[in-house]
């Protein structure tokens, strides 16, 4: 699971304007000039160093250039110009071989074993580090072992869990998973898996990893090399003379500047054209949209991945006494009784996602209405949920409850058998989220619920230790954003009975809902074993529909993964919602 957007929700103002309703995965105004790799060789569009300086602006400054010690997107993105993984996640959520691997291993080409347990990666021939020494399988194995060693406290450690690595020969490595792993690209692809030079880091194994000088000036295989790094301020790079493609990269130098704020970053790319790329422009739509519309210098990249802002419904009783509070042994008084499905459906029907998307997410600028929890990969996108979630009707929701015997009381709250439909609704402290809560409250109360709002600082909310946290889920509904790997098996596994978060596992597992459905568990069991792509897609859609139609979760908006400004003169960037925004910087040119 990748969660960077959960933190990146620091929008500072309520977004008001609405225009440019867009759909599809990529909503940039210009057609991508090149596909995953611009042609090179005699037909090359450009020669190495033809361009001058490329200016990139992030409003958070990189502080470290070792992707495995990264504390945020800023660090992994700044390191990506230098340190490359075996392959990258492309715009279609499939790996592209623009890294160290010669090809993408698949079951079809024999690179992935039929049981999904071993993956064989072959390096491109003749690969060199920027210092001119050859890249070998040893470097890959060393990198894996460093990350896997808990003593290095690597932030990318999770991708090595349940995996082992061995060098088959000087240019081949084999990744072996303990059990069949449908997400067989778990290690090797994307921001998790940048390959370090063994020679540079060998003396800094284990606990010394954090002190390695290479953290600030890594030697890499990427299109650029670090010439100067001022932590917390700026990185300057020069074209790597030993880069594998003799014509790339186009730019002689790159400056990666950090600091400031999102709004003035937007001005720099849309109004003055002082920079070529400005990251994560989470600015109120009524300010951003006119800037984009009148810009002669820049355009907006709004690219979707799998991030969904969603509401979770609690199946356990958050008000049970003592140690039983929120435990799976209890049942939520109205979400999980005999009328559970009816009440949950009524809540979903009274949920106005289009107003939220329009008013708070600029209708396609930073998000669009969402119906599915599994989204972004066309093969996995279910259509069975569309009619269900396009119904927004608080009055009909009220009638549904009425028919089931939930009668309005004098306080305008529905009740049955002494149980009132009173909801405590928690989320993080965040202007957009509080505005979303307000919209929900209005509509849910029209349907006869009584809604109390609660907001918790993000640092407290996203912990397994706090009673106010998402994991304890000691409220009736809660809201946040999460996203999935391109393969959603482990993500969906987070709603199985075995994953119920509770006291005995210190709330460390993913099923905060405490949803328990044998049908759903069965689907995931099958999904773990199934190796046929078409059947897998079918199971994934069924699992998605199970969660949506049973109203375990109410997706509200699908959020952009990339929300950046780019100069109109830059060509060759085909942004992806599944990897670093810098994943194909070797192909950028003017």
């Amino acid at each position: 699971m990748r969660w960077r957007s959960a933190l990146a929700v620091s929008f500072s103002a309520v977004i008001l304007a609405a225009a440019c309703a867009q759909s599809g995965t990529t909503t940039t105004s210009a057609a991508p000039a090149a596909t995953s790799a611009a042609p090179s060789g005699p037909t090359a569009l450009f020669k190495r160093g033809d361009g001058g300086q490329l200016n990139i602006l992030y409003w958070q400054a990189p502080t470290i250039l070792n992707p495995h010690q990264a504390t945020g997107t800023k660090d992994s993105d700044a390191s990506r110009l230098v340190i490359e993984p075996l392959a990258s996640w492309g715009p279609d959520a499939k790996p592209v071989a623009n890294g160290l691997a010669a090809t993408i291993p698949t079951v079809a080409n024999g690179g992935v074993s039929a049981d999904f347990k071993t993956v064989t990666w072959t390096l491109k021939p003749g690969l060199k580090w920027s210092d001119g020494t050859p890249v070998t399988a040893d470097d890959v194995v060393f990198t894996f072992q460093q990350i896997a060693d808990p003593a290095t406290a690597s932030t990318t450690n999770d991708n090595t869990v349940g995996a082992k690595i061995a060098a088959k020969d000087a240019s081949t490595v084999v990744v072996t998973y303990d059990s069949p792993n449908p997400n067989f690209y778990q290690w090797g692809v994307g921001t998790c898996c940048g390959i370090l030079q063994k020679a540079q880091f060998a003396a800094f194994a284990g606990a010394k990893f954090k002190d390695a000088p290479g953290n600030l000036k890594p030697i890499g295989t990427g299109p650029y090399t670090v010439t100067d790094f001022k932590p917390g301020d700026v990185v300057t790079y020069a074209a790597n003379p030993n880069f594998r493609d003799p014509n790339k990269p186009f730019f002689k130098t790159v400056q990666f500047k950090g600091g400031g704020d999102a709004e003035s970053s937007a001005r720099a790319v849309f109004q003055t054209g002082a920079v070529d790329y400005a990251w994560n422009l989470q600015v109120a739509a009524n300010i951003l949209q006119p800037m984009i519309a009148s810009s002669t210098t820049g355009k907006m990249l709004s690219v979707y991945g799998s991030s969904v802002e969603r509401i979770l419904l609690n199946f356990a009783d958050p008000n049970a006494a003592g140690d039983a509070r929120g435990e799976p042994t209890t049942k939520h008084p109205f979400f999980n009784g005999p009328d559970g499905l009816t009440v949950r459906k009524a809540l979903a029907m009274a949920t106005d996602r289009s107003t939220v998307a329009k008013q708070l997410y600029g209708d396609g600028l930073t998000g669009k209405p969402g119906c599915n929890i599994i989204t972004g990969v066309p093969d996995f996108e279910s259509t069975a949920t569309t009619s269900f979630c396009s119904t927004f009707d608080p009055v009909a929701a009220g009638k549904l409850l009425d028919d089931a015997g939930w009668k309005l009381g004098s306080d305008n709250v529905r009740a049955k058998g002494g149980i009132k439909l009173k909801i405590l609704y928690q989320t993080t402290v965040n202007a957009v989220r509080q505005a979303t809560q307000a919209i929900m409250k209005t509509n849910w109360e029209k349907a006869g619920f009584s809604v109390e709002l609660k907001s918790v600082p993000a640092a407290t909310f996203f912990t397994n230790t706090s009673p106010d946290g998402a994991n304890h889920f000691w409220s009736d509904v809660e809201m946040f954003t999460n996203n999935s790997d391109p393969d959603p098996t482990s993500y969906l596994n987070g709603w199985t009975t075995a994953q119920i978060a509770q006291k005995s596992n210190n709330w460390q597992t993913g099923n905060y809902n405490r949803y328990s459905d044998p049908t759903f568990d069965g689907l995931i069991d099958q999904l773990r074993k199934e190796t046929d792509p078409a059947k897998r897609a079918d199971l994934i859609k069924k699992a998605n529909d199970n969660l949506i139609l049973n109203v375990v979760i109410i997706p509200i908006v699908t959020r952009t993964q990339v929300t950046s400004g780019i100069s109109k003169t830059i060509k060759g960037d085909t942004p992806t919602g599944w990897d670093s925004e810098m994943y194909n910087i070797q192909d950028w040119y003017k």
Binding site: M1, R2, W3, R4, A6, L7, L57, A61, T63, I64, Q69, T71, G72, P150, A151, A153, S154, T155, T156, N157, D158, N159, C192, A207, K210, D211, N215, L216, D228, K230, P231, G232, D233, V234, T236, Q255, K257, G259, G260, D261, S264, R267, A268, Q271, T272, A274, V275, A458, A459, F461, F462, T463, N464, A470, F480, N482, Q508, G510
Partner: protein, 319 residues
């Protein structure tokens, strides 16, 4: 005099120790967490977080950490930043030139402008010059720097396109064009800060001068037949400067501290910007180092101000 300075320096030592303890305690008890950047990221599970915490030395209770910190400080080691894993001293060294080039220059300009302006305003009280200067001074210290900063950016960077508003700390000044480039990129933040400094100091100088001008010794000087210029510069200004010197001297440490808001707006990677980011990230070693250096400078410049009194006013003697 020498003994006085020595005594003051000795007194300063316990002061600094107390300050260091208070700063450390406040930071240790504050709810910021260097690991909060990971938020709910499931890619950084609890075991990994525990390892990181252990690596940063956050396992120990804070009084133990304080003692460790002080003992390494005694050897001149300010520690390692949690965020960049690089030496705190290196970070400060990288930032200081930018702060001096912007905040320092603004301060010098501010002082150099403020004293003559304040003096002329006082001597030519209620003249056109005085009215204009007073108006500017009020604008200067009433309007917050984040407002003047953004105003300048919109007018001069976005509409007129005269100056860049993203400060380039990699600029190497080795010839006239690169020097002009430096002037262009620092003129807006310097203006913002100098406006504020000039306003404050000019008002102070003016008030002091006005207080001294009607005094007896001034009348005596005039009746001796001294030229007005000599009366104002040698007698009035010198006496009026004593409180101004305190103000100016105590302002010098704040130059080191950088200009938090202005540096942020113009993306000047100075000490102020470093401090704010470090506080936000819970990067305790950086915060404590900056605050401690700041405290030392405050103590030091207090002493310098006291010594300056004796220079300006021979009647003041320290024994």
């Amino acid at each position: 005099m020498g003994r006085y300075i020595l005594r003051r320096l000795l007194i300063a030592i316990p002061t600094i120790i107390v300050i260091s303890f208070v700063v450390y305690a406040i930071l240790a008890l504050a709810p910021t967490d260097p690991l909060s950047a990971f938020g709910a990221d499931p890619r950084v599970p609890p075991e990994v977080r525990a390892n990181i915490r252990h690596q940063l030395g956050l396992d120990d209770p804070w009084p133990v950490r304080y003692v460790k910190w002080v003992s390494s400080l005694a050897e001149g080691d300010f520690g390692i930043s949690f965020m960049s894993h690089s030496s705190v001293m290196d970070l400060i060294k990288q930032r200081l030139p930018n702060t001096l080039a912007v905040v320092g220059v603004a301060y010098v300009i501010g002082v150099l402008l403020a004293i003559p302006i304040g003096m002329i305003s006082a001597v030519r009280r209620y003249s056109v010059f005085d009215h204009v200067a007073t108006t500017f001074a009020f604008v200067g210290f009433s309007v917050p720097t984040f407002f003047t900063g953004i105003l300048l950016i919109i007018v001069f960077a976005i509409n007129l396109r005269w100056f860049p508003f993203i400060y380039d700390s990699t600029l190497v000044i080795d010839d006239v064009p690169s020097f002009l480039q430096q002037v262009k990129q620092s003129i807006m933040p310097i203006t913002v800060l100098a406006l504020f400094d000039t306003a404050t100091i000019a008002r102070y100088t003016r008030a002091e001068m006005l207080e001294h001008l009607p005094l007896d010794y001034v009348r005596t000087a005039r009746s001796k037949g001294l030229k007005e210029q000599v009366v104002v510069l040698r007698h009035v200004l010198r006496n009026s400067l004593i409180p101004v010197v305190t103000l100016v001297a105590l302002g010098v440490p704040t130059v080191f501290g950088g200009a938090i808001v202005t540096e942020q707006i113009f993306r000047v990677p100075g000490i102020g910007e470093l401090l704010v980011t470090a506080i936000g990230n819970g990067d305790t070693p950086v915060v404590t180092a900056i605050l401690l250096i700041f405290a030392v400078l405050v103590v030091l410049f207090n002493l310098i101000a006291d010594v300056m009194y004796a220079v300006l006013d021979p009647r003041i003697k320290y024994a």
